[in-house]
């Protein structure tokens, strides 16, 4: 009985020691992740202005798209607080199947931070991972031509005008940024978007949401950026 108690005490001590070691290790790893590298480079390293080409192209080629720009601070080539501002619009007219017209246009805003994941932080190229909180408030116009009720045959109008809606979502961002010439950089980002709150007004759902894209709970998006890094 005595030897069993000693074994049980030893196992408990070992387990507690391991737990403490792992906690301390994880805490120190977290601190290391968030702290700046120690070197002679100053903390404030400038800022960058960027413009998204994907939304611009979508605007030209489809019935919805965005104009988007961003302002990004450079802290020690490691952390990059960022504000993204855009203007999204959709003008879906006369759907060939349902005949529904959907129109909206509104600004949207994102705020977040990127972390340079490369080991050589001060090089000309960067690999980012980041997080954004995004918000838009938009009005929806929805209409169809009058159509007959399938049973009663009376002509029926369908639509709303200026329906007030809003959307809040988070984005996980992975991106790259490469120096081309002087202050000119090019880069792209892939984004996983997840809605966190929304109000679709009285109509049930909305289709295109400025900045988010075609509505729903989750969505994958991307940007191709022309960047002026100063």
């Amino acid at each position: 009985m005595m030897s069993q108690r000693y074994i049980s005490t030893s196992i408990r001590r070992l387990a507690i020691s391991l737990l403490l070691f792992l906690t301390a290790h994880s805490a120190s790893a977290q601190l290391k992740f968030f702290s700046l590298q120690k070197d002679t480079i100053p903390v404030f390293r400038g800022f960058a202005l960027s413009f998204d080409m994907v939304g611009l192209l979508m605007n030209q080629l489809s019935d919805h798209g965005e104009y988007e720009g961003a302002f990004r601070l450079n802290l020690h080539d490691e952390w990059f607080p960022i504000v993204e501002v855009g203007y999204g619009r959709a003008n879906h007219t006369d759907d060939p199947v349902t005949g529904i017209r959907y129109e909206t246009k509104a600004p949207y805003f994102r705020i977040g931070i990127d972390k340079n994941m490369l080991k050589k932080k001060h090089g000309p190229n960067r690999l980012y991972m980041g997080l954004r909180y995004a918000f838009t408030s938009y009005d929806v116009d929805l209409s169809t031509d009058n159509f007959p009720d399938p049973v009663w045959l009376w002509d029926t109008g369908f639509g709303v005008k200026g329906e007030k809606c809003n959307y809040h979502w988070l984005e996980i961002v992975v991106g790259v940024d490469a120096k081309i010439y002087g202050p000119l950089h090019l880069g792209w980002s892939a984004r996983y978007k997840r809605r966190i709150a929304h109000d679709d007004g009285s109509i049930g759902n909305t289709w295109y949401v400025p900045g988010f894209g075609i509505g729903g709970g989750t969505r994958l998006g991307g940007t191709f950026n022309v960047i002026i890094d100063i």
Binding site: T98, I203, G204
Partner: protein
């Protein structure tokens, strides 16, 4: 760096989009026939329901027999539907007229899905030849077919 393709593929798999039109896209009202104690009761007589539409009268429920529940479509945007409940007992029939008043709301899913209307029931009137009373149990009419909207009580002698 080696994990980046895996992360990107995982994100892609999680974010697939699709056309989300509902499988059940019929908006209808559900009726339950009840005895005087409120228990579900199979109707022993045959029931047909007709309605007046723009140009004529049509049958919307044809010869319901030995059933305690049934569903009826509701007009998209007419303020009040007028229904004729015809109860057959052999060659003899009795007609009651029912008027259902409602508010109509456009309901939108996506530009890929057909336009639909949801409704809020605001009142029901009826004649009382065969029907004793009709009670609204739930005012909200939408895609949910499990919600009972009306309890229909025939007269006790029926």
């Amino acid at each position: 760096m080696r994990r980046l393709p895996i992360i990107l593929l995982s994100l892609l798999a999680m974010a697939c989009s699709s056309i989300d039109c509902p499988v059940n896209n019929i908006v209808s009202t559900q009726y339950v026939i009840c005895d005087k104690d409120g228990a579900e009761m199979k109707l022993s007589d045959t029931l047909s329901i007709l309605t007046r539409r723009m140009d004529d009268t049509i049958t919307v429920l044809n010869r319901l027999v030995q059933k305690a529940t049934f569903s009826l479509q509701i007009s998209y945007s007419h303020p009040e539907d007028e229904l004729f409940f015809v109860f057959y007992k052999g060659p003899v029939y009795t007609i009651d007229t029912v008027w259902i008043k409602k508010d109509d709301y456009p309901h939108f899913e996506s530009v890929d899905c057909n336009a639909a209307f949801f409704h809020t029931l605001t009142g029901v009137r009826y004649t009382t030849h065969y029907i004793d009373s009709i009670v609204i149990k739930n005012t909200s009419v939408n895609y949910d077919v499990s919600t009972v909207h009306f309890h229909l009580y025939p007269k006790v002698s029926n």
